[in-house]
Symmetry: C2
Subunit: 178 residues, 2 copies
Amino acid sequence: MLELAVLGFLYDLPLHGYELRKRISALTGHIKPVAESTLYPAIKRLEKGGLLARETQPGSGAAPRHVLTLTPAGRAELRRRLAEPAEGEISDENRWFTLLAFLRHLEDPRAQAAVLQRRLDFLSRPTSFFYEGDRPLRAEEVEDPFRNGILTIARATSRAELAWLRRTLASLHAAAGD
Amino acid sequence: MLELAVLGFLYDLPLHGYELRKRISALTGHIKPVAESTLYPAIKRLEKGGLLARETQPGSGAAPRHVLTLTPAGRAELRRRLAEPAEGEISDENRWFTLLAFLRHLEDPRAQAAVLQRRLDFLSRPTSFFYEGDRPLRAEEVEDPFRNGILTIARATSRAELAWLRRTLASLHAAAGD
DNA sequence: TTGCAATACATCGGCACCGATGTATTGTCT
DNA sequence: AGACAATACATCGGTGCCGATGTATTGCAA
């Protein structure tokens, strides 16, 4: 999730770590804050993997800035991660949102549609948080008001997202000329 | 999140690790699968902390079962974690849902209401995933269809959850005689 | 002028998580 | 008879995450 965000933001333009941190905080910070002690090692990892290069730029701020630029390998890697997301990227809303935030970088509407389709398939599978044996329970069958809330909210989210997915898939298919 | 689920399930009745795993998988497994190699160390941790006790029960299955029971300290700890959740439990939907799944164990409707109120406050804060300077952008202002989707879906979820929160808070206050 | 917040980076130790792998038994399908 | 899934636990190495802490500068407010 973190690495995807780093690659995603740098795909647009080179940034230094601190600026990157502010952008990631704005994107997902209200849900799950990003610690500096997580970001800087992540940058180092990506650098060691040849996905980004750093150029030290003195002046302007306090400590010398390290401006980070994606290498061609880094650009390819972002596109790969967007086109072939792990199952967790599809099922976990937090990670899915991060992926969505950068999906435009995939350019090919067919590839974008394929990713949305995976999320649609996931949301279409009949799953619940609560079961009676193997049978998923509906909200109406759950007496506990808090567990009922989980199902009520999840259903509303699912409905809204499915509608959006279908709408967006239609316009992507139109764009691709299908 | 994992520890909370363990404590939550055992609050109802003693279970062995394997059964615990199945219940946790049913609860959150479709979002984020739980690995055995994460569960067993977590059980050990809680045991070492004096929150649960294990009783070896031979027979029945394959390997001898370790039936896990919450100690009084474990029961108190669950109530404490439910009553005083960390900020991440409030902001992260996955963790919030886990908390909701066991909030009934808190019994006192006033304490339950206080927790729901924290979530309501969080959802009421004007935040976005995208900003222009400091100003949060509305869905209508975001051209990228995927980022627009994030805001559209988040708004629908938020609306549904706020309605549920207000409804449930009202009935909790009624139950508490406020 | 003293102090604090913001800018900008970095390290370290502890710990949680996970995939891989191992052990052993029961039940079922072929 | 043999294969395989399910039951039931456990360990180990690698790695990512995080809080605490450190360094150094700029700029604003008390």
